[in-house]
Amino acid sequence: MDRLAPGDRQAGAPDRPLLACLTCDTLHYEPDVPMNHVATCRRCGRVLAAPRDNAFARVLALALTSTILMIGAVFFPFIDLSVAGLQNRTSVLDAALAFSTGMMVPLSVAVALLIVLIPVTRLGAIIYTLLPLVRGCAPWPHAPLAFRLAERLRPWSMAEIFVVGVAVALVKVGGLATLSIGPAFWAFAGLVLVTVLHDNAMCRYTIWKSLETPSR
């Protein structure tokens, strides 16, 4: 490939490969960051690398936990509503299918994508990327593609926003009916917490480097 030959940059430059900041394009020598340290961009302050002990295992464990919580969140009811002897139970699927009439159908599909399918796909792609790395094997074929997909889907994975939406909806109907929160709601809430931990634990630079040199 057309990788930059070390030393290309200017005369007398040390033989070290370069890395460009994703935000501001500033060139840095590839950092050789000790464990549990953080390297940041000199110009804009973006984190360039933040390797941690057992980072892959940690991220993988969190991704697996999220997957299990997600399954619970989808299949158990998340709110029970009762008023004047009438009762209605709602699961995540019901909420996604709420727009299933006429012109609303595309919205139903979009909601299902945003709160279930995209988060699940993203988790699957992360697990696919990291599982062989954690076991110390070479990455599986197309792992870079999978990891790029996972990064791409990140803004579109909206499970945590859905949880806050549930809370707002509860307040809106709170006056006219008796409500109780089901197990799926807690699964979703746990999912939010795990997602935050997960995004913080992930050092993208380390993952990219490992995908590049399949020998670790």
Partner: protein, 210 residues
């Protein structure tokens, strides 16, 4: 942590005549069309990405208008039948004394979308000129738009949850209104607009001409 050996003056990949991958940061000598590590297309910054920013932004603004005119929720109870728009829903909440939730709804569905339109337009217009905001402040604005923008989708989810939950025969039924569709589209278009804006363009303005 400072990276040792990086003490010399700052240079960008572009000024050094190279092209960096926007996904993984790998630096390439100009030439290949795809990144050698992650296979993402390598896109030299240009007018093309700005055109996409404006196109998505315009689409987002256009569909935001019907989202505010048409009803978001249609409620039928024993006594009455009512339709509420986005702003109407927030006012209802205020009248019921739920100030906190009214504030969340109003911020998520009015302030954030409108603020985002303005912020993206400002960033795109100010790319090559010095302005009231420094580069660092512009960058902060960009990060805020990226981070907060998704949260506007909350109102769509609330409508979905209410419509699924409140289906109690003759007592009360809530159905979604057409505004939910255009609002969801507006949020998605604006997110695409923000994603098309290459943050490196913001920083380019900072460089003295080579």
């Amino acid at each position: 942590m400072e990276i040792p050996g990086n003490a010399e003056p700052l240079t960008t990949a572009r000024r050094a005549g190279m092209l960096a991958c926007t996904r993984c940061g790998l630096v390439h000598a100009s030439g290949p069309a795809r990144c050698g590590r992650c296979d993402a297309p390598l896109d030299p910054r240009g007018r093309k990405s700005l055109q996409a920013v404006w196109a998505w932004l315009l689409a987002g603004v256009v569909v935001y208008i019907p989202a505010n005119i048409y009803p978001m929720l249609r409620t039928a109870t024993l006594l009455e039948q009512s339709e509420s728009t986005i702003v109407g829903g927030a006012i209802d909440l205020l009248e019921h004394g739920s100030y906190g939730v009214a504030a969340i709804v109003f911020i998520a569905s009015v302030l954030i979308p409108v603020g985002k339109f303005i912020a993206i337009a400002y960033l795109a217009l100010s790319l090559n000129r010095p302005g009231a905001l420094s580069i660092h402040q512009r960058h902060l604005l960009y990060e805020m738009v990226e981070f907060i923008g998704r949260w506007s989708m909350i109102d769509v989810f609330v409508v979905a949850i209410l419509s699924a939950l409140v289906q109690l025969g003759s007592v009360a039924i809530i159905n979604p209104g057409i505004a939910a569709v255009s609002f969801a589209l507006s949020v998605a278009f604006t997110m695409l607009s923000a994603q098309s804006l290459d943050p490196r363009l913001i920083w380019d303005a900072d460089e003295e001409p080579a």
